[in-house]
Subunit: 225 residues, 2 copies
Amino acid sequence: MEIAILGGTGPQGSGLALRLAKAGKNVIIGSRSAERAADIARKLEADHRGLTGKIFGEDNISAVKRAHEFVFLAVPFSGHAATLTEISPYIGDKCLIDLVVPLAQGNPRQMDMPPEGSATEQALAILGPDATVVGALHNVSATVLADLDHGINCDILVCGNKLAESKKVCELIREFGTEAYYCGPAENARCIESLTSILIRLNISKAVPFSHAGIRISHREKHGD
Amino acid sequence: MEIAILGGTGPQGSGLALRLAKAGKNVIIGSRSAERAADIARKLEADHRGLTGKIFGEDNISAVKRAHEFVFLAVPFSGHAATLTEISPYIGDKCLIDLVVPLAQGNPRQMDMPPEGSATEQALAILGPDATVVGALHNVSATVLADLDHGINCDILVCGNKLAESKKVCELIREFGTEAYYCGPAENARCIESLTSILIRLNISKAVPFSHAGIRISHREKHGD
């Protein structure tokens, strides 16, 4: 089983490639340049021990074609719509997992949402209402993803209009050793994507004594009731 | 120092009154009916030991007038705009802390946001741009608030356009023994309020083995770097 990551040469895509390869999945990094993708793939494999899956590099369209079931999208928001338009003829019924967060240019503490409401909803608008689009992994920093010596310090909120496919994505993410929750339809990406700018605000704030903030779902201990 | 809670006869307002009184604050529960408010205030005091603050009951306008600095708003969203319009001439420079979440009628797993974007932004629109409006405590269940034998199981996300006043609200909430974070301007209430419907979805879901879900800000342990 091969999994594609479009924008896999960027920090978040590369971190995700490492997590997937550590979990035994074969990964195809997609990029506008197949050569650059292959270079990064070789470097990721050379720099990290204990990867039980392989990492390959391809241009984006070839990566989509090779993907068995899952295509992650981890490009900057500025390339979101163009990449989706490019791969649209080739995605078929494969599951697009959108990590993209429309942060405001120059101020990542603010959002600059597209007219569709969120990146995930924009992906649905471009790929069409029958496409399988799942939003996930918006709130994990690239640094946390790439640091294979430590676990992922947050839960993953997953949304999408197709329940069964969204739950499959939750199962895949749980292989990273963290919890994933199905959080409702694609529209809820407005909230989940926006959390990222709030977490970045906390990371930047001098009043908050930590970084790499994330979200965990807490719950009430049962008190014998 | 007396603190008002409009809608203080409802479950969330009553739970909040208990937390404040436990923290030694004198509370004025506001309601459309002063008699009902006084009844509930007496009942809350009679049913709970260890409250070091007092609980009074008044009609909403009298509660606002008596409040020293803080006026919490915990009415159902259906009464949000009307209550704000009613108290608008009396709020002055007191700090309105808006707990209201515009859940969809009949389906609390969805939001039905007002045209302003969120309840907190609607409050700003009604009270005027110079008003002090802070959004907070959207994600805590009434049950958790009212159970004084146990701590609050989540962090509190606070937003507002006025930084200093928002931080005062964070300090007040920390007196409940939980962490509060300033999360940016009033616009971020769109995200923070929406989290409530996601948490309700998790609570309802048969796939999730817990209830009273909340949010905690996780962060990365420092690994010697």
